[in-house]
């Protein structure tokens, strides 16, 4: 299938890029804007926080991001209960006038692993309120199925803990998730390098969401481009269908006609 017609579709909306990028941790807004540009990402995540009332001199994120060009995906980072996450999503919708939310409900500060019980609770409420819910979840097959069943528009299992750069720690679970749900499967969190991203895409994932891997690289602009290419390479490789793994060699040159 030609790549141009291989669009990512989430809740009926079409996207050309399968890379989703976060906007945190960059050295400057300028650097972030450059990284976003070169990454080709169309969906970018943002966080919802209090406006700094006492110091109004600081620049705003949205001075550097054109909301008409990018689909903003507000997150609920830092929320540890369903109630807090739901409240944050409602505020995000009012601030951004879009129904798309990256729902995360954390269970623990050290691992930032999701609290799946609270996640499911929040997702149910938000789906009922008309949100397009993209939940960050552990790489748990049953959890992903439940999230799909209650109406989430995608599932976003982690590859490894947020910001860890450990890569896809359980490719077998990701594969089973892919076979289990029909909604897009987007690996969210854990990738550290282009090869990690390509592995996720070669497994058949519909996309990869990352922040630290790009923002924390020594050259974020170069890494943003590397990730863009890795997404494309991994996707094409998946579509092309790889050769089976074999234990022994299989010569590429003919045996016939060898010099005696």
């Amino acid at each position: 299938m030609p790549l141009e017609s291989d669009k990512l579709i989430i809740a009926g909306r079409e996207f050309n890029s399968r890379l989703m990028v976060g906007t945190g941790k960059y050295a400057s807004f300028q650097q972030m804007a450059q990284a976003l540009e070169i990454s080709g990402a169309e969906i970018i995540t943002v966080a919802v926080r209090r406006v700094n009332i006492s110091d109004r001199s600081k620049e705003s994120l949205l001075d550097y991001i054109d909301p008409k060009r990018y689909t903003l995906l507000p997150n609920t980072a830092g929320c540890y209960t369903a109630d807090d996450a739901v409240r944050t999503c409602r505020l995000a919708r009012e601030a951004g006038l879009s129904d798309f939310v990256k729902l995360e409900v954390l269970g623990d500060e050290k691992t930032l692993f999701p609290d799946n019980e609270e996640l499911l609770k929040a997702a149910k409420i938000l789906v009922k309120e008309g949100f397009t819910v993209l939940p960050y979840t552990s790489d748990d097959v049953i959890m992903c199925r439940k999230l799909e069943d209650i109406g989430c528009a995608a599932v976003m299992p982690l590859g490894a803990p947020i910001g860890s750069g450990l890569g896809i720690r359980n490719p077998y679970n990701i594969r089973i998730i892919l076979e289990t749900v029909k909604v897009p499967v987007i690996v969210d969190a854990g990738v550290g390098s282009a090869s990690d991203t390509a592995i996720a895409m070669e497994l058949g994932c519909d996309g990869v969401l990352m922040n630290t891997a790009i923002a924390g690289a020594q050259d974020p602009i170069a890494m943003a481009e590397a990730m863009k290419l890795a997404i494309i390479a991994g996707r094409l490789s998946y579509k092309a269908g790889r050769i089976p793994r074999k234990l022994y060699a299989n010569a590429s040159s003919p045996i016939e006609g060898l010099l005696a």
């Binding site: 945190g24 943002v46 966080a47 919802v48 406006v51 009332i53 995000a92 601030a95 922040n211 630290t212």
Partner: protein
Amino acid sequence: MRVTLNGEPAEIGDNGTIADLLDSLRIGRERVAVEVNLDIVPKAMYDIHRLSEGDKIEVVHFVGGG
């Protein structure tokens, strides 16, 4: 009058609207969301909704995040 603004005690004009408050803080209304006593106030209400003594007001916006 005394209110709580983004978690901090604040003194604002008596019976002003949300629009008055945002103007005084030089905050554009397009990019924020406002919650008063845990209820979100739609943007269309900013010119109408009058704040009261003791209100707990939250003004949020988007920042960088993953």
